[in-house]
C-alpha cells in the first residue's frame, strides 16, 4: 500500500463524517486548550505573584530583638531606631510597630452601651511610629495619617486599617468619629485602604507610638521595619544592628530577603504542579474521548474493515489507517486547543492587566502532544480493528 493511498483513506474516513470528527476533536481541543491555558495562566499568575514577592521582599529588612540572655533586661530596640537607621545610605523608609497590650479593654464607637447592637469589639491595637506608614506604603482612603507631632504630644488620635474600620462601621472621618479603647477616648483621623507589607495592620487600630508609650507604658518597640533601595538590602542588613545599637549590636536580630526567597519558590512550584495536574486531567479526558469515538467507529465500520480485507488490506494497513485517523484528530485538536488556550491566556492577562507569560515552545509542543495523545488513544481500537477476521467482519457488517 502506498503512503499517499494510506493518507487519502485516513483523511476520507475523517472528512466524510465531519460532524462526528468535529465533536471528537472537541475533546482534545478542550483538553489541550485547558492544558495550554492553565500552564500559561499559572506562569502568568506566578510571574505576577513572584514579581510582587521580589519587589516587596527584595527591599525589606526586619529588625527585632534577639531573645535576651538571662539577666539582660535592657530593651533591645530604641525608640529612635528609625531615625538612626535612616542615616544609612540606601535606606528609603523605616518605622516601628508594636502590639499594644490593652488588658481587657474593648473598643467602642458609641458613647453608650447599646444592649441590642454589638458596639464593642476586640481589635488589635498597634503602636506605630509615623515613619512606618511610608515603609509600608500606606494608601490613605480617607482623612490623614498621624505625624511626629501627634506622637511627640501623645495625642489621642487613631488611624484605622480598612478591615478594622469596616467592623467598627466607620466609613468616613468627615463627621469626626471617635472611639474608646477601654475608658480612653480617641478621635479617628484617617482610614488606610491598602499596604504593601504588614497586612495585619489593615485589621488594627493604629495609635501613635508616643501616645502608646505614655498611656500603655510600652517599654520598647517590637519591630523595626526598614525599606531599602533595590540592591542595598544585604549591605544594610549587615550594618543595621550596629547603627541601631552601637553599644550592643548582638542583641538585634535581622531578617533579610534570603529567607523569603524560599517561600516564593515554594509558591511557584506548588502552583505549577496544581495546574499541570489539572491540565493533565483535561488531556486524559480528551484522550478517552478519542479512544471512545475511535472504538465506536471501529465497531460501526466492521463491514468496511471486512471489505478492505477482502480487497487485499493487510492487518497492519487497517491498524495504521485507524491510528492515522486518531493521530490526525489529536493533532488538529492540539493545534486548535493550543490556539484557544493561548487566546485565553492573552485574554485573561489583558483583562487583569497582567503581562501574559507563555513558554514559547508550548504552542508548538501542543500539536505534538495532541498527535501522541491521538496515537495512544487509537492504539487499542486500531488493534481491535486489525485483529478482526475478514469473514466475521464481512458477515456482521453491511
Amino acid at each position: 500500500m502506498r503512503a499517499g493511498d494510506l493518507l487519502d483513506e485516513s483523511l476520507a474516513g475523517l472528512v466524510t463524517r465531519p460532524g462526528r470528527t468535529a465533536l471528537t476533536i472537541l475533546g482534545t481541543v478542550i483538553g489541550l486548550g485547558a492544558l495550554v491555558a492553565t500552564l500559561g495562566l499559572s506562569r502568568t499568575a506566578s510571574n505576577r505573584i513572584v514579581g510582587r514577592f521580589d519587589e516587596v521582599a527584595a527591599t525589606e529588612i526586619q529588625l527585632t530583638s534577639r531573645p535576651q540572655a538571662l539577666g539582660e533586661i535592657d530593651p533591645a530596640l530604641p525608640w529612635n531606631g528609625p531615625s538612626l537607621i535612616r542615616r544609612l545610605e540606601g535606606v528609603a523608609a523605616a518605622g516601628n510597630t508594636t502590639a499594644v497590650d490593652t488588658g481587657d479593654a474593648l473598643i467602642r464607637t458609641a458613647p453608650v452601651r447599646d444592649p441590642i447592637r454589638q458596639t464593642e469589639f476586640r481589635l488589635a491595637v498597634q503602636a506605630v511610629s509615623p515613619g512606618l506608614f511610608e515603609a509600608i506604603h500606606a494608601d490613605v482612603a480617607n482623612g490623614r495619617l498621624f505625624d511626629e507631632g501627634h506622637s511627640a504630644r501623645g495625642d489621642r488620635v487613631v488611624v484605622l486599617g480598612r478591615t478594622a474600620a469596616a467592623r467598627l462601621g466607620i466609613a468616613t472621618v468627615s463627621n469626626q468619629p471617635a472611639l474608646a479603647i477601654g475608658d480612653d477616648v480617641f478621635s479617628v483621623i484617617g482610614i488606610v485602604e491598602d499596604v504593601t507589607r504588614q497586612h495585619e495592620l489593615l485589621a488594627s487600630v493604629m495609635i501613635p507610638e508616643g501616645t502608646a508609650a505614655a498611656d500603655y507604658r510600652l517599654a520598647s518597640p517590637e519591630l523595626l521595619l526598614v525599606e531599602t533601595d533595590i540592591g542595598a538590602t544585604q549591605l544594610i542588613a549587615q550594618m543595621a544592628p550596629l547603627a541601631v545599637r552601637p553599644d550592643a549590636a548582638h542583641v538585634i536580630k535581622v531578617a533579610a530577603p534570603a529567607e523569603q526567597r524560599r517561600v516564593r519558590d515554594n509558591v511557584e512550584s506548588d502552583l505549577e504542579l496544581l495546574f499541570l495536574f489539572l491540565g493533565g486531567i483535561s488531556l486524559l479526558v480528551g484522550a478517552i474521548g478519542i479512544a471512545n469515538v475511535t472504538l465506536v467507529s471501529v465497531m460501526e465500520r466492521t463491514g468496511e474493515i471486512g471489505l478492505r480485507r477482502a480487497l487485499g488490506a493487510h492487518r497492519r494497513h487497517i491498524a495504521v489507517q485507524f491510528l492515522a485517523e486518531s493521530a490526525t484528530m489529536g493533532t488538529v485538536g492540539g493545534v486548535i486547543g493550543a490556539s484557544l488556550g493561548t487566546l485565553v491566556v492573552v485574554g485573561v492577562a489583558a483583562a487583569q492587566q497582567w503581562t501574559p507569560v507563555l513558554d514559547p515552545e508550548l504552542p508548538l509542543l501542543a500539536p505534538l502532544v495532541g498527535a501522541v495523545t491521538g496515537l495512544v488513544a487509537g492504539l487499542y481500537p486500531a488493534l481491535r480493528a486489525a485483529s478482526m477476521e475478514p469473514v466475521d467482519s464481512l458477515r456482521s457488517g453491511t
Binding site: M1, T16, E304, R309, A310, L311, G312, H314, V391, L394
Partner: protein, 229 residues
C-alpha cells in the same frame, strides 16, 4: 482433433472446515472440487449447507481446517496472512449479497478502492475506475453517493469494483439475493458478458433461474458437494 488443454483455476482436495469445539460444526466435510479457467460455476443448496463457507475458503478469506487448496497450481492453504491478502488484492474479485459499498464515498471512489491495496501507482486510477463503471453501464453515475442508487445499480458498482484490475476469479455470494427479477436479469447479463470475456466465475445462488445461466452447477448438502448434470 486436438484436445484443448484447460488449466485448472481452483483445486480443492478433501477440504474440511470445522467451527467450534463443543460440539464441532463441520461446515465442509471433505470437499473435492476442480474449477477450470474461464468456467462459470453455480453453487446451490439449502441454507446452512456450507456454500458461503466454501466460497470464503476459495477466496482466501477463511482457512480450511484440513485439506488442500490450490489457486493456479499454488498451494495457498499454508501461506501467511499477508500473502493471502496479496492474492485477494491481485487475483480475486468479490461481489456480496449486501453490496458492501462505502456509504460516504462516491461511486467512483468505491471502485477505485480496489486498487488501493494492490500497491500500484495512483496515476490513471480514476480513469481506469471510470472505464469499469462505463462497462457496467454506470458511466453517468460516477459522482453519486451509493445511497442515491437503486439496488441493481449498487450491485453493478460492486461488480465494477471487483473487475478493476482484471482478477482471474470472480467470487459472488448471492449477488442477486437482494434484487428483484428485472435487475437480477441485468446483473446476469453482466456476468454472462464477463464469462464470455474469459473470467472464471464462482457464484452462490438460491434461484434456479440464476443457476441455470451458469455453465456448470454443483449442489451443496450438509457440507458435501454433488454435481448437477
Amino acid at each position: 482433433m486436438i484436445a484443448i488443454p484447460t488449466t485448472t483455476e481452483v483445486q480443492l482436495t478433501d477440504v474440511w472446515r470445522t467451527f467450534g469445539e463443543d460440539p464441532p460444526i463441520h461446515a465442509l466435510r471433505g470437499v473435492d472440487l476442480s474449477i477450470g479457467a474461464g468456467e462459470w460455476l453455480a453453487i446451490v443448496g439449502p441454507s446452512g449447507s456450507g456454500k458461503s463457507t466454501l466460497l470464503n475458503v476459495i477466496g482466501c478469506l477463511d482457512r480450511p481446517t484440513a485439506g488442500r487448496l490450490e489457486l493456479r497450481g499454488q498451494d495457498v492453504g499454508q501461506l501467511d496472512d499477508g500473502d493471502r491478502a496479496n492474492i485477494r488484492a491481485r487475483e480475486l474479485g468479490f461481489v456480496f449479497q449486501s453490496f458492501h459499498l462505502l456509504a460516504h464515498r462516491t461511486v467512483l471512489e468505491n471502485v477505485m478502492l480496489a486498487e488501493v491495496y494492490r500497491g500500484e501507482p495512483r496515476r490513471g486510477r480514476r480513469e481506469r475506475a471510470a472505464e469499469e463503471l462505463q462497462r457496467v453501464g454506470l458511466g453517468g453515475r460516477v459522482d453519486y453517493l451509493p445511497t442515491r442508487l437503486s439496488g441493481g445499480e449498487r450491485q453493478r458498482v460492486a461488480v465494477a469494483r471487483a473487475l478493476l484490475g482484471r482478477p482471474h476469479v470472480l467470487l459472488a455470494d448471492e449477488p442477486t439475493g437482494n434484487l428483484d427479477s428485472v435487475t437480477t436479469g441485468s446483473i446476469m447479463q453482466l456476468l454472462a458478458d464477463l464469462h464470455a470475456s474469459g473470467i472464471t466465475i464462482v457464484m452462490i445462488t438460491h434461484s434456479e433461474t440464476v443457476a441455470r445461466a451458469a455453465q456448470r452447477q454443483v449442489t451443496m448438502v450438509d457440507g458435501t458437494l454433488a454435481e448437477v448434470c
